[in-house]
């Protein structure tokens, strides 16, 4: 059958790897309640729920979530539309390759023509129309046996993201070959990238036939590939749980960028679709503050139920206690008020929260992580 005759969107299935602690968002984001389980935008929904709502109309509710088994209850509560067979619970963190490729292998077993898309659970995208258009174009290119990443057109030089360098334009649609993936650059380099015009932000979203992903992994990480295939073999059987706990601990821990995206790019298998929608990875409190302040008059952003008295015209207060919080004479301040830990810093120092979490680990405060 000629694939051109079938709408490849019919075979599209979204995977949401919901992992990562988000330590730069401590003390709000914790090992027990990572950032995707929080409402960081003031939308009234968590980032995970927003992600679900963004993808459900495109996939007609065909979504699979991969998350740590400690989050099973909260994820199920937050996503009532998620069926049990589409929730993969990792017994332990094994980085993105094991999570995404296991999901892809399970979906491939169920439908060998499946085209998967992988979308982080903790990103913010508000322009649904442009998002859908980019996905739609990417699916069509993926159907030509490509791994298609979505590259965000940069709005500023940023040292916080990796970049994707566009190569030749594809014959089909709005895609380009990927010349190169570039890791997070220095600011000086980031400025050059943005001026150059060929560089896009790597938002970590990609769309590909599951079959192709598995083929690439078989070449680059044969042992990991074998483990995942063996696990998939038992999936949807009554041995699923037993084999998961047997095989999972042995899987190689590696990011999908290194296991698949970069080697596949060198093989000419990766395309990029530029997308000009607004995209935020909400990496730290400064990012949340900026997100919150968009289109608002000068004032402190407030997330949560705090009673606040403040004369600040910038910065952010996040509170999940019911205390009164009074802020006087502070600009660009970040205050995060939780029942057992309080963080006070400034937007300029938002990135240092990660080091703080490390320091907490080393000083015996693991109860607070």
């Amino acid at each position: 059958m000629d694939t051109n005759q079938i709408d490849p969107t019919e075979n599209f299935f979204a995977i949401i790897p919901a992992g990562g602690v988000g330590s730069r968002l401590w003390p709000l984001s914790r090992a027990s309640a990572p950032k995707f389980l929080h409402d960081l935008t003031g939308s009234g929904q968590t980032l995970l729920q927003d992600t679900w709502d963004r993808l459900a109309p495109i996939t007609k509710n065909k979504l699979m979530v991969v998350t740590g088994d400690v989050h099973a209850r909260l994820v199920a509560e937050q996503l009532p539309g998620l069926s049990k067979e589409n929730l993969i619970l990792e017994p332990s963190p094994k980085d993105s390759t094991a999570a995404i490729v296991l999901a892809a292998a399970v979906l491939y077993k169920r439908n060998p023509d499946v085209i998967i898309g992988s979308f982080a659970a903790d990103h913010v995208i508000t322009d649904q129309q442009k998002f859908e258009a980019a996905i739609s174009a990417s699916i069509k290119i993926a159907a030509t046996n490509k791994i298609v990443t979505i590259g965000i057109v940069p709005t500023e030089a940023s040292a916080a993201f990796g970049y994707i360098k566009k190569g030749q334009a594809l014959k089909q649609g709005p895609g380009f070959e990927v010349a190169e993936f570039v890791e997070k650059p220095e600011m000086k380099k980031a400025k050059k990238f943005v001026a150059n015009g060929k560089y896009l932000w790597n938002a970590g979203m990609f769309i590909a036939p599951a079959k192709l992903l598995l083929q690439v992994l078989a070449k680059t990480q044969p042992q990991l590939h074998a483990g995942i295939m063996r696990l998939a073999e038992y999936w949807d059987t009554d041995q699923q749980e037993q084999k998961l706990h047997e095989i999972w601990p042995e899987l190689t821990r590696i990011a999908i960028d290194y296991a698949i995206a970069e080697p596949a790019a060198k093989l000419g298998l990766v395309a990029v679709v530029p997308a000009a929608f607004e995209w935020h990875d909400v990496g730290d409190f400064a990012a949340i503050a900026e997100l919150q302040s968009q289109g608002k008059s000068n004032n402190l952003a407030v997330l949560g139920s705090a009673r606040v008295l403040s004369d600040s015209s910038s910065g952010i207060l996040v509170s999940d206690t019911n205390r009164l919080v009074a802020l006087i004479g502070l600009e660009d301040v970040i205050v995060v008020d939780t029942p057992d830990a309080l963080l006070v810093t400034t937007k300029q120092h938002a990135q240092k929260v990660k080091a703080l979490v490390e320091a907490l680990k080393q000083t015996g405060h693991s109860d607070l992580l």
Copy 2:
């Protein structure tokens, strides 16, 4: 009997008016637990206890405390040496004249030769020897029928205190006549005062024969004087409580500076003894921070039991919760962490806390005051 033959110190009795909310120390200092009930110096004792310990050796434990009746329990707990007959409980706040002069009138009734000294419950004085020397000299001058204030030799120009201008040197001891009391000046004026050399800080401490105080009040505030004398008449009788609740509400509310000190100065009845000891009125968190940082290497001052991670080299954290507090990249910060309210500000804005408390009153947050 010639008074020169008796050591007037034998007749000395200290009064500690323990009042005032200390709203610039909110949310630590509250109506229910004002600043004198807190350890603000890290001494391990409250300011009230420090005040007691400073005076007890001088007066041989002859101390009277005047405080709001809501503080009865905490004051009694903190001062086990205070006998019940030397604790006056105000049914409502009536400013300093009623508090101090009622105490003086009661002591006068018990001993007509009594020389009283009045000392705020919330000041910090560390040089006990110089303090005792100043008191001792003041008692001797007071015994010559003077109201003797202690004037602190300024260590810097300050707009936070009132000033006392020295007049003629007295024949006796280290005292001077008081030329004038000056209210808190503008900074420009404060600088002139300090350069001039004749101006001392008014620390609100004074020593005087109770009889003289009562005589002055009889002239300046005859109605208030009459009320207090009637109350004193019933004191130490079984009608004490009944009359207190009957008469107290009618007493004029006026500061002792206006009712006694200033008019008496115009009558030539007030002397000042300059004292060069270190003195702090711990008026706001900036003052506490400075007090805490004295003689210490550059770091954040911490009061209370908080677990702290901080890279700040200045500022102060006050915490009576057991939360972990993390401060990153902040200088001169003030963080006050209490179970129901959190304050974050900077030393530069410490004085604004008073206005904040006003705002809280007006926005219906009286539960937090």
